[in-house]
């Protein structure tokens, strides 16, 4: 069992009602520290409200929420949190460096530290050439970049990114992916709210599908730990005995036209299966675990008639 202190986020029965309308019904969630976690769900599923409650921007109607072992909204916990809001609205009469300085001071960072940190962050998000422009002259993508820099200012332990790539070109998206990877590598937890399922699939370790304000399913995207996958192997010289021999791992093996298909309860046993086939004399050309794509699973859960 995961201890509370090992969790970046812990919620139990979190509920939010706005003027009689239930926005979040019953959110129970554990996100371990160091994980890149995706929040998926259709419009109005309660993703942004959930994030707002975790950040202390909205107050729960009932239930519990903790971030980094402290109650959600706690001022001390917020010093270790970074947040890129969905609409990334900032004081647009400031320059990017001034905005970062303001937010750094609100984090309680020293002038000396900010002098070091601001140029490197502007460089990281590719805004150094625009450092003297005011934000009112910025495009949507540039605002998203400065918002991202702002979210990383304090080297946060927990980072909430709400639609971090919605205004970005492919270079910008790559940049965000690299930044998220770098944050995970230094041990930070990243919570990603995104409509771009492809991005989520590449970036996240685990996702939660939210529907009507409840977690319907959490799903790991780590291929090694993935559960109930179909595997397709392109191979020659596969005999009926070999197929029978697969019974120790699977009951659904079929060999037809150079393709061997079976399902496994876990991908962790796949290398063992491949070793067995090779040692029995099969010529293996390709091993392809057939994971249900996030989009397919998303549509299964929320229904294909609903938009995101």
């Amino acid at each position: 069992m995961t201890r509370s202190s090992d969790l970046a986020i812990r919620t139990r029965g979190l509920r939010k009602v706005f003027s009689g309308k239930v926005a979040v019904r019953n959110l129970t969630l554990d996100v371990p520290r160091g994980e890149v976690f995706g929040f998926l769900g259709p419009n109005g599923a309660g993703k942004s409200t959930s994030v707002k409650m975790l950040l202390g921007l909205a107050f729960p109607t009932s239930g519990e929420a903790e971030i980094l072992g402290r109650p959600a909204g706690d001022v001390k916990a917020r010093s270790k949190v970074g947040f890129l809001p969905e609409h990334f609205r900032f004081y647009d009469w400031l320059t990017p460096a001034e905005l970062l300085k303001l937010h750094g001071r609100l984090y309680g960072m020293s002038q000396g530290l900010l002098r070091e940190r601001i140029p490197s962050l502007l460089d990281l998000v590719g805004l150094t050439p625009h450092r003297d422009k005011r934000l009112q002259e910025f495009s949507k993508g540039m605002l998203q970049r400065i918002g991202l820099a702002q979210a990383l200012l304090n080297n946060p332990e927990l980072i909430f990114l709400d639609e971090p790539t919605s205004g970005l070109d492919p270079f910008g998206r790559r940049m965000v992916r690299d930044i998220i990877k770098a944050q995970r590598d230094r041990g930070a937890t990243v919570v990603l709210n995104s409509h771009l399922l492809g991005e989520v699939e590449i970036t996240c370790d685990r996702v939660a599908f939210i529907k009507d304000g409840e977690v319907v399913e959490t799903r790991t995207l780590d291929i090694e730990a993935a559960e109930q996958n179909t595997v397709l192997i392109r191979a020659c010289n596969v005999t009926a005995e070999m197929v029978k021999g697969l019974a120790q791992w699977t009951s659904s093996a079929r060999y037809d036209g150079g393709r061997l298909a079976f399902s496994l309860s876990s991908n962790a046993v796949l290398p063992e299966v491949v070793r067995y086939l090779a040692s029995a004399g099969a010529d293996i050309y390709e091993v392809a675990p057939q994971r249900l794509s996030l989009e397919e699973r998303f549509l299964q859960i929320v229904g294909s008639d609903r938009g995101m």
């Binding site: 909205a58 917020r78 010093s79 947040f83 303001l102 937010h103 309680g108």
Partner: protein, 276 residues
């Protein structure tokens, strides 16, 4: 610490958006206009050989009228500049990046309040000081109790600022502006009803005026300020159009201070407890 950071940001925003400079430019234009009027008035005094006492009283009346205009400008400046700072940032979502920083919400609100108080103090000091400087140099007249008058106008502005903040913590920018101006309008009408009631010796009309001042004490502060600043003769003879017939008492001034504190406390409480 958060208070001073937010106060500085508020000041800087007003400067960057040219609000501060435009207010000062409009203020200078007002002072030039007033000075020009007073200049021609002074020339006519000399031509008609008017008695020094009458000259002095006319100059005092002009000074009070100019201060009345300054007071109205201060009221409008207070409401118009501050009404969007909370509700606008809440509506646009700008507040989200600030409110998720490790700074309690009350400090965010108080920082903005302190920033506006600083700006309005400077504005009122420049305008009240400017008007008095003009009358001093052109007619050798200044307000009777300049500091008390300045402080009362300043307090009127701070009361309105706190009320505007309280409304803005609940409502949209437009609604808050309408409510704050409407409440001041109520006090304004109440003040005149009280004056006319005093002239016509109608105690019930005076009571209506006093109740209006309890609902919103801003106008009462101006009438007390006018009493403090205008000529002793005008006060004694009760001939000025400003305030001398029914002077708001010192307890009313203390009531206004309490009113302001409560309005600010409501603003802080609501802003700290509401969803952003």
């Amino acid at each position: 610490m958060g208070i001073w950071i937010m106060a500085a940001v508020t000041f800087r925003e007003a400067a960057r958006k040219k609000m501060l400079w435009m207010a000062l430019a409009a203020g200078c234009a007002f002072l030039i206009l007033f000075g020009t009027g007073l200049h021609f008035q002074a020339k006519d005094f000399a031509r008609h050989g008017m008695s020094p006492i009458l000259r002095r009283e006319i100059s005092f009346t002009m000074l009070t009228m100019a201060l009345y205009a300054v007071d109205l400008l201060a009221v409008l400046m207070t409401i118009l500049t501050s009404v969007d700072t909370l509700s606008g940032e809440i509506a646009s979502g700008t507040i989200q990046a600030v409110a998720t920083k490790p700074v309690p919400r009350w400090q965010v609100l108080m920082g903005k309040w302190v920033g506006f108080v600083g700006m309005l103090t400077a504005y009122i000091a420049i305008m009240v000081g400017g008007v008095n400087a003009v009358t001093y140099f052109m007619a050798n007249v200044t307000a009777r109790h300049l500091l008390s008058g300045f402080l009362l106008i300043w307090m009127e502005s701070v009361v309105l600022l706190s009320v505007t903040f309280a409304f803005a913590a609940y409502f949209s920018t437009l609604t808050s502006g309408i409510l704050a101006l409407g409440l001041h309008g109520l006090a304004f009408i109440g003040g005149w009803i009280e004056q006319l009631g005093a002239i016509t010796q109608t105690p019930r009309a005076v009571t209506v005026g006093v109740i209006a001042s309890m609902v919103m004490p801003s106008e009462a502060l101006w009438r007390r300020a006018a009493f403090e600043m205008q000529s002793p003769l005008a006060n004694a003879m009760r001939v000025s159009p400003f305030s001398t017939l029914s002077v708001p008492s010192m307890p009313m001034v203390f009531y206004a201070a309490l009113y302001m504190t409560i309005a600010l406390a409501i603003a802080v409480r609501r802003f700290s407890q509401r969803d952003l």
